[in-house]
């Protein structure tokens, strides 16, 4: 790989995201580690969305659905495990689980299934219709979760203890950070491989010129649906981790504001750039805490900043620093 300015910046970012919490750990500042963990998890959600958005050109305003499904996968499994209340007894007895690997698997499978259904319906349309339909599906799940009283409804589900990972103490902030960080790195490697694979190239081609892809015998619908499912699955995994970070899941995770925020991470960093979500999520967390300390109305500043980036700095943070070279790969 050639060391362009952008890839240097990417390495620097990934390193900073590791060094900051390590420094905080040695200084005994657990809250900074929690913030870094939050940034890593939100970046993971952004990496997921970016596969649909940056690579596939699919503007989904409903990714909160997958984020929330991941969160509820964690909440439901862990709630049954902590209450010794079997989730189901047939075909075999299953009492829920507090093991992270199993929870992640369930989160990925269910968010992928949801993405398959939502994607199959939504991808029949395109353009503005697609944006609005994904938004509407997200809202549908949101309202469902609010009134689903078996799992807390609007109150959400609280888990007393963080779930377990073999060999680690997940309640220790730095160990939980490590888990989130490693998963983020794996997802980034996966996304970059995906972008350079034949599938990724075909998907990018479908975004630019649909006819050309059809001419070589590929169906854009299948390509896009696959990308949408992968994208949903990664965002769902991020949702499970996010719920574990807070030891809590509620319908807020499914609201369309969450969809908007995940999209903001991608955009703040730079659309279509592999590491964009990492930069975006880190910047967002930083802004929330710096501006939030100055004013209760900090979202005005966030709004203005976002507006300026969209209007005048399409490349986002990475674009501003690394210049306008085309990324992804």
């Amino acid at each position: 790989m050639m060391l362009t300015r952008e890839s240097l910046l990417n390495w620097a970012m990934i390193a900073a995201l590791l060094i900051v919490p390590l420094a905080a750990w040695s200084l005994d500042e657990p809250f900074i580690i929690t913030l870094a963990t939050k940034a890593a998890i939100l970046a993971l959600a952004g990496v997921g969305l970016n596969i649909a958005l940056g690579l596939g050109g699919l503007i989904s305003l409903g990714h909160a659905a997958f984020f929330g499904i991941g969160g509820y996968a964690m909440g439901i499994l862990a709630a049954h495990a902590q209450n010794y209340d079997p989730l189901f007894e047939w075909p075999f007895l299953f009492e829920g689980s507090n093991q992270m690997p199993l929870i992640w698997l369930v989160a990925v499978v269910f968010s992928a299934l949801a993405a398959l259904v939502i994607g199959a319906l939504s991808l029949r349309t395109s353009g503005v219709y697609f944006i609005m339909i994904t938004l509407a599906f997200g809202q549908m799940l949101y309202y469902f979760a609010i009134s689903w009283s078996a799992y807390g409804g609007e109150d959400g589900l609280s888990i007393w203890v963080r779930n377990e990972f073999p060999g680690l103490n997940t309640l220790d902030p730095i160990q939980f950070f490590t888990i989130a960080y490693v998963i983020l790195c794996l997802a980034l490697v996966f996304a970059s491989r995906l972008a350079r694979s034949p599938f990724g190239l075909a998907l990018a081609a479908a975004r630019q010129n649909e006819d050309r892809v059809q001419a070589v015998g590929l169906t854009p619908f299948t390509l896009r649906l696959t990308a949408f499912v992968i994208s949903g699955a990664i965002t769902g995994l991020a949702g499970a981790l996010f719920a574990d970070l807070n030891r809590f899941v509620s319908p807020t995770m499914l609201s369309w504001h969450t969809s908007g925020e995940i999209m903001i991470f991608v955009i703040l960093g730079g659309v279509g750039r592999l590491y964009g979500p990492v930069a975006g999520a880190a910047l967002y967390i930083l802004l929330e805490h710096l501006l939030g300390g100055i004013s209760d109305y900090w979202q005005i500043f966030l709004g203005v900043l976002l507006l300026l980036i969209v209007l005048f700095a399409r490349g986002g943070l990475i674009g501003a620093i690394a210049g306008r070279e085309k990324a992804h790969g």
């Binding site: 319906l121 349309t125 219709y129 339909i133 309202y143 009283s149 209007l311």
Partner: protein
Amino acid sequence: MTYILVLEQILNGLQLGMMLFLMAAGLTLVFGVMGLINLAHGSLYMVGAFAAAAVAGWTGSFLLALIASLAAAAAAGALMELVVIRRLYRRDHLDQVLATFALILIFSEGTRWLFGSFPLFLDVPSYLSGPVSLPGGIQYPLYRLTIILIGLAVAAGLFLLIARTRIGIQIRAGEADREMIAALGVDISKLYTVVFALGAALAGLAGALVGAIQSVQVGMGEPVLILAFVVIVIGGIGSIKGALAGALLVGMTDTLGGVFLPQLFAVFMDPASAASAGASLASMLIYILMAAILLVRPSGLYGGNA
């Protein structure tokens, strides 16, 4: 279940539909003419309601409050168009979504800053309050009847505007071919500002009308915005006729579903869980309706250009 109750619920559905039409008309016009998706349309609804509440507080006149809502929302819309929106026409939908999402943040927090977090007070004027007796023995609130009539009047006015006036011809031409009307010597940027302000004014009017029977507070526009999206997706984006049909369909489905689903469930469930399960399904009903319509017609009932 009496037929009076059914009729009254149909009127309620009609009233919700008319309110949604006021919101959806602006959204769909802006999309049809300029090809722009505007998430901040709900903020204009909120601006209208706050302007009305403020003016009603100062002057005590409901009529002045309605005029203020139209003026304030149109002004906010025009300003929004001049400063931000016109830079977005040539951009892709992603940029439009993000920029208008940013506008929501700015408008919501700005309003909270100006007016505080407590809901504002806006009351129905005495000459419109209380029920009236309709033929068939129905008692119906006069104010809601007024909303239905205003909605019908606006719908008629919009159809006339588009079918009969100069600006209507320009709008229709703009929908058909954006480059051509520039070639015809129409001042496009002025036309766009006017159309945007018109849509904004309708949203502001809806906010003020509804604010008088609900509460005027920050964030009030967002649930309505999402309903309005459902309306224009069902109706077909860009079509006023579609917006009207979609609004009535959504208004009726939401109202009647909310009333009759729990009663339907009560046939085979105990009352408390039927009420709860029915209410849950009713809250998702319009999205199910939307998905079903799009399965049959991917660009909505009257949709053409998407």
